[in-house]
């Protein structure tokens, strides 16, 4: 079980787990709930260089399309193939098996804390 209070968050409803320079990135339960059933995920492949704040992937539900923004700059070291094969993991376990990409971050911006994020979404 992921400790959500230990994660970092963005206003784009993404979460970031930091392990040294490697940032594991996913979308929050709030975002997954708003999207509805996720049926398609497109992620940048390992080796792709991503820039903070730019669109690097897509998360599609039956009803809508969400864009994945890179919350950090750096190089993608892994994309979650399990979530590409089974997009419903984003709904069933957004903070766990539904993670999206891991990025070797070259720098870290200021993130929201758990409390700040929960305040943002009104919970």
């Amino acid at each position: 079980m992921t400790d959500q209070t230990a994660l970092h968050y963005t206003e784009e409803h993404e979460w970031i787990a930091l392990d040294g320079d490697v940032a594991t990135i996913g979308i929050t339960d709030y975002a997954a709930e708003k999207l509805g059933d996720v049926v398609f995920v497109e992620l940048p492949g390992a080796g792709t260089t991503v820039t903070e704040g730019t669109v690097v992937g897509e998360i599609e539900s039956t009803k809508s399309v969400g864009e994945l923004f890179a919350p950090v700059s750096g190089e993608v070291v892994e994309a979650n193939q399990a979530v590409v094969d089974s997009p419903e993991l984003v709904n069933s376990d957004p903070f766990g098996e539904g993670w999206l990409i891991k990025v070797n971050a070259s720098s870290l911006p200021k993130f929201l804390t758990h409390d700040e994020y929960r305040a943002l979404v009104g919970e």
Partner: protein
């Protein structure tokens, strides 16, 4: 992560325009909140978009039964000896030709032939009809009908606030309705056996007046999902009891369903949604609804001249599109005649989704008339990527039983 504007909810564009209107709530609002529904603004109403999972709700309707709250829809009633003549003048169809207890899909046209709304009209008596309009258009339809009926001996009443609508849709709908206690029919006897006999004899697009726990309910074999099913019109204060009775009787066979699944269900069934496939800019024939216009009826009706003249030769026509993979074309995406950058734009997507039943992307699109034959390959710009799609006949899905 952000949602792309305009793709987050199934409603028509008018929903945004009515955002400043006071938020309206269904008589079933408390039931939905207790069930943990997520809500969306739909034409100024707060309606359930889903209870748990769009896909689970969609499959429930295809495989067992789904329960929908459609209380936001508009009901306009005409009463008077010339109600039939008034509707023949006001609408595109020949409503005088339907029998008491029959329903008919029809269109309210503007003078220029554009579609103001699509409607289901029930003849509930020799001198009375109920016109069911889309929520976003209910007030406009009521106003238009009042204006158009002015010279006829009929009274037009907007009863939208006094009528709730619950739909029970899916292959198990009939069995659940038969098993649900509390139904009867008006008149002598008024018992469950009479109700069951009437329900078992009820044909598609027919309705009969019944009672639920002693209060009137109109039971109609109509719907918007591509499955067999029923729509139940009754007083708002009775809606919660009926919803609960159907849920309790149906048990695991009945799943509460939100507007998200309703949209994917009707799309698979090739049914148009006002604001997407239908608009004031479209003549009925462009949307494949030429058969809905009764040009053979002797009387004049609003829009007749324009419909007889027909659309411009290059006016777009509605087609079905099917693609491979999992990336769906969505409303407003552009359609091209080729994959290359220099290909010509030939149309626009009106609705699209990854079909939950079929497992591949489906869409409806308005395209140039020369490109509408089944088998034609077109290309949809899906956020910068051209996806190949084939023109296919509508509907995408047709129930087998």
């Amino acid at each position: 992560m952000t949602n792309e504007p305009g793709t987050t909810s199934p409603e028509s564009p008018s929903a945004a325009a009515s955002a400043d209107v006071a938020e309206r709530r269904s008589p079933l609002d408390a039931v939905h909140r207790a069930a943990g529904a997520s809500f969306t603004d739909f034409a100024g109403w707060q309606m359930p978009v889903r209870y748990s999972s769009d896909l689970a709700e969609h499959h429930a309707v295809r495989n067992s039964a789904g329960l929908f709250d459609l209380s936001h829809m508009g009901e306009i009633v005409l009463i008077g000896p010339q109600s039939a003549a008034a509707l023949d003048h006001a609408l595109a169809g020949k409503l005088s030709a339907i029998e008491i207890g029959q329903a008919k899909y029809s269109l309210l046209l503007a003078d220029d032939g554009g579609i103001i709304d699509d409607l289901v009209v029930y003849r509930t008596g020799d001198d009375r009809y109920m016109v069911v309009a889309n929520a976003s258009n209910a007030a406009v339809v009521a106003d238009e009908l009042r204006t158009r009926a002015a010279g006829f001996d009929t009274i037009v009443q907007d009863e939208s606030d006094d009528i709730a609508l619950i739909a029970l849709q899916g292959p198990d709908a009939r069995a659940v309705l038969l098993e649900t206690p509390g139904f009867g029919v008006d008149g002598p006897g008024n018992d469950e056996e009479d109700f069951d006999a009437k329900l078992e004899a009820l044909k598609y697009y027919r309705a009969f007046p019944a009672t639920f726990e002693g209060e009137p309910v109109l039971v109609a074999r109509t719907g918007y999902t591509g499955e067999d099913g029923f729509e139940l019109y009754l007083a708002p204060e009775r809606a919660t009891r009926l919803w609960e009775a159907l849920s309790e009787t149906g048990g695991p066979r009945v799943t509460p369903c939100g507007l998200a699944s309703r949209d994917t269900l009707r799309l698979e069934a090739g049914m148009p949604l006002y604001g997407h496939e239908l608009s004031r800019d479209i003549l009925p024939v462009q949307a494949g609804l030429g058969r809905v216009v009764a040009l053979a009826k002797p009387d004049d009706f609003v829009g007749r001249t324009a419909v007889e003249q027909g659309p411009a030769a290059d006016a777009p026509v509605l087609v079905g599109l099917a693609a491979e993979g999992r990336r769906a074309a969505r409303a407003d995406y552009e359609v091209f005649d080729g994959a290359d950058a220099d290909a010509t734009r030939v149309g626009v997507i009106t609705s699209g989704a990854l079909s939950p039943t079929l497992g591949h992307p489906i869409a409806m699109a308005l395209v140039a008339p020369g490109l509408a034959e089944p088998g034609r390959e077109l290309f949809v710009d899906v956020r910068g990527t051209r996806i190949a799609a084939s023109v296919v006949p509508l509907p995408f899905y047709k129930r087998t039983a």
